[in-house]
């Protein structure tokens, strides 16, 4: 029997409409908007100002804090402005706006498509390179990757776990990457293993991608210590705690990190970015983005430079924006609804999903019938019906006791609730209150 995580989970309709669409290279926009905060943590500091000329691959913002990431220019051109603009989360954030000219790459970047297998750098140099190249978690959480590789004294890492699960319905960017960039990705994994000084790696892929599993198994057979694990399709298997439980039968305790059970987890997209950075000297300036949904005529996977407006992607995929009532940055389970399509692709944009008008609105909320299906499906073993009440009441103490901070916001409870209650809305309120209370406490 195929492995999966041991608590809860749901299986939404997969709807992988773009699974067979090969990666297409996206044209360059006339003007690109590159936010200085595309990652979890402290925003990077802009290094350029209005009127500066930047080359493709040049560092334009520096992540100075411990948890931060550098930003590189995805294009060549003149800085039009450095100002606050609307980003994909609907907040106004600082961004560097570039008037795009034909590419003029920074020196030292290898643009050939030849595979480079030999890893010349030492583990320390690898981590440094990852840091310099502005690599963040490409699965959507955008946690700066190098931080995971600065293993604190006393912690022992046994396994590198690679996340090729792509459990979100609709999204196929990781799937296409595994199929088309499998060799590069595998070298990226070997680099990460060297950087982490481990000799064991497990790549977890859900069983709805048999072609990717076969392809990766074939490539992995040439490597020492890398195995591919086909997993039962179950959402949210892409959550790192769930993935570790699925492949290793180890559960990360509440409030702890994968490191505490001897693991580091990275997404397949991150591995590819690491290959490009370490072997090709190319910083993170592009990613694969799925454009999909029922109102999209040609569901596609695009290789897109960061900063490209979402509008351009929609036009190329022949998306009927008028027919859609909701446009989501990411997948349908955890993605964020966009306020406007006039926002740029960032490092964390795994997909743009259009929902038809009929499926855009929530159903009417009804009385809870105490069926406890939310508890059954919660992958963290929480009681969403209870957390919803406590969150609505903003009772931070009670929320903490009921372990609200363990919630990974996967949305399985809301997906399942027969009474159509938006449990997660209230749980988020509770989490915000509880998080503030805990931070205040540690400040004292």
């Amino acid at each position: 029997m195929l492995k999966t995580f041991r608590i809860g989970g749901v299986h939404p309709k997969e709807n992988k409409m773009s699974a067979s669409a090969p990666i297409e290279v996206m044209e360059h926009p006339k003007r690109a908007v590159v936010p200085v905060s595309q990652h979890l943590g402290v925003p990077a500091t802009a290094l350029v100002k209005k009127g500066d000329f930047v080359k493709t691959g040049q560092m334009i913002a520096k992540g100075e804090a411990f948890i931060s990431a550098n930003v590189h220019s995805p294009f060549t051109g003149k800085v039009f402005r450095v100002e606050e603009t609307l980003d994909s989360t609907g907040f106004r954030r600082m961004a560097i706006i570039i008037d795009v000219e034909p590419d003029n790459w920074m020196e030292g970047i290898d643009l050939s498509s030849d595979l480079k297998r030999e890893i010349d750098l030492s583990p320390e140099e690898i981590v440094k390179k990852i840091h310099e190249s502005g690599i963040v978690g490409m699965g959507g959480a955008t946690f700066p990757t190098h931080v995971k590789y600065m293993v604190p004294e006393g912690k022992k890492v046994e396994y590198l776990i690679i996340n090729g699960v792509e459990c979100e319905p609709y999204l196929t960017s990781d799937h296409r990457l595994m199929l088309e960039k499998g060799e590069e990705m595998m070298i990226g994994i070997a680099i990460l293993m060297k950087g982490l000084k481990v000799n064991k790696c497990i790549i977890g892929v859900e069983n709805n991608k048999p072609d990717a599993i076969a392809h990766l198994k074939d490539i992995a057979s040439k490597y020492q210590g890398i195995s591919v694990e086909a997993l039962k399709v179950q959402y949210p298997q892409g959550g790192e705690k769930q993935l570790i439980d699925a492949v290793l039968r180890r559960q990360v305790p509440a409030g702890k990190l994968p490191l505490d059970v001897g693991c580091v987890v990275n997404n397949v997209g991150t591995c590819f970015a690491v290959y490009e950075a370490v072997q090709k000297n190319k910083p993170l300036i592009e990613r694969i983005v799925t454009v999909t949904g029922k109102p999209v005529k040609k569901p596609s996977n695009f290789m897109v430079r960061i900063g490209t407006p979402v509008d351009m992607l929609l036009a190329k995929a022949e998306a009927d924006v008028e027919a859609s009532g909701k446009i989501i940055n990411g997948g349908p389970m955890m993605g964020k609804a966009l306020v406007t399509t006039d926002v740029p692709v960032t490092k964390g944009t795994s997909g743009i999903l259009l929902m038809a008008k009929a499926e855009s609105n929530r159903n009417e909320e009804q009385n809870c019938i105490r069926c406890s299906k939310c508890t059954t499906v919660c992958p963290q073993g929480l009681e969403p019906h209870l957390l919803k009440i406590l969150g609505k009441r903003m009772d931070a103490e009670a929320c903490e006791v009921e372990r609200i901070m363990d919630c990974i916001e996967c949305g399985s409870c809301v997906y399942t609730c027969p009474a159509q209650i938006p449990l997660l809305d209230y749980i988020r309120i509770g989490k915000a209150k509880t998080g503030a209370m805990i931070r205040n406490r540690s400040r004292k």
């Binding site: 389970m333 306020v339 929530r362 009804q366 019938i369 105490r370 992958p379 073993g381 809305d425």
Partner: protein, 331 residues
């Protein structure tokens, strides 16, 4: 461009709804309903119709005029209460008594707490117990079943339920053998050819409905299994100790409201615990209480009381927490 909808994730919903669950329960009751029509004829049809119409009416009136909310009678929950109440009464119950039962079930059992999902006690059982205490004579004169098309419809012949026969017989000092010779055999108990509340008589029809609900995942195994196992084990121990004083466990299982209780009453989502461990304790509790009442208490049947008593323990049982992620450290 037209305005976009912006809301928190998730943006998709599974196809489960309250309506689907409720109608699933209604479908599961069809076998028992048909059996009651077959054995009790027009009497059963009348009781079911009156109970259902009265339940829907009271829910509608109370929601609209007392709670001043939009009535949601199409969700099927009042329909279930109506059918379950009818299942719990004899097929010759006067219409006005049924209507009073429905009023108490819906009005006091459910709406007084705020409606669907808010009531601590199973509404149909609240109605039933109210009727049993208020109208003991009418509620315990059970028409003997007459299979449809086999005899003219007679409402006059009544007799005790198998459980009543056993309780009365044993109390009068008759031997187990004599007592058991006065009750229908197991085939008739399974099929429903015995005196009793109209929906309770066929253990087989109720089992069928229960399996359907398990298959559709409307209910989980925890409550039915723990309830059933407790009844079998507890009454089995008594029986092994003294087979002349205590009836055999299978008899307990196929008589009275046992099957209806196991699959339809104890499993009511609203009034049962919300974690698997809580549900198992709940089932064990109901099982123990049922047998204690049947064997030692004044009433021959204990399912309704047992479930209502355990309903009261649900808030306490809900303090039991589910297994948190991270608590299983090793495989």
């Amino acid at each position: 461009m037209s305005l976009l909808v912006v809301s928190g994730s998730p943006h998709v919903h599974g196809d489960l709804s309250t309506k689907k669950i409720m109608w699933g329960v209604v479908y599961a009751m069809i076998p028992a309903l048909l059996v009651s029509f077959y054995f009790f004829g027009m009497g059963a049809v009348k009781v079911v119709l009156v109970s259902v119409v009265a339940s829907l009416f009271f829910e509608w009136v109370i929601t609209k005029y007392l709670l001043k909310q939009k009535p949601q009678i199409s969700d099927g929950s009042a329909l279930i209460t109506g059918i379950l109440l009818a299942f719990n009464v004899p097929s010759n119950l006067p219409v006005w008594i049924i209507i009073m039962g429905a009023l108490v079930a819906i009005g006091i059992g459910k709406m007084s707490f705020g409606g669907l999902g808010k009531n601590p006690f199973n509404p149909a059982l609240v109605g039933r117990v109210f009727l049993l205490i208020s109208f003991p004579v009418q509620m315990t004169s059970w028409p003997t079943p007459i299979p449809m098309f086999k005899a003219p419809m007679l409402d006059a012949i009544t007799g005790p339920t198998p459980l009543g026969v056993v309780k009365e017989g044993l109390r009068n000092g008759e031997s187990m053998e004599t007592v058991m010779s006065q009750v229908p055999d197991y085939v008739n108990l399974l099929l429903g050819n015995n005196a009793g509340s109209l929906g309770e008589v066929s253990a087989l029809a109720l089992l069928l409905g229960g399996l359907y609900m398990l298959f559709r995942k409307i209910i989980t195994w925890h409550i039915p299994f723990s309830y059933l196992a407790t009844v079998l084990i507890f009454s089995g121990i008594l029986w092994l100790v003294d087979p002349n004083a205590y009836v055999n466990p299978l008899f307990h299982l196929v008589t009275g409201g046992m099957m209806l209780g196991i699959f339809f009453m104890a499993t009511d989502m609203v009034t049962s615990p919300m974690t698997p461990v809580g549900q198992i304790i709940f089932g064990v509790g109901v099982g123990l209480l049922t047998i204690i009442i049947r064997v030692w208490a004044a009433y021959p049947e204990g399912v309704s009381f047992a479930i209502l008593i355990m309903n009261a323990a649900v808030p306490l049982l809900n303090k039991i927490k589910p297994k948190r992620f991270g608590e299983i450290v090793k495989a």
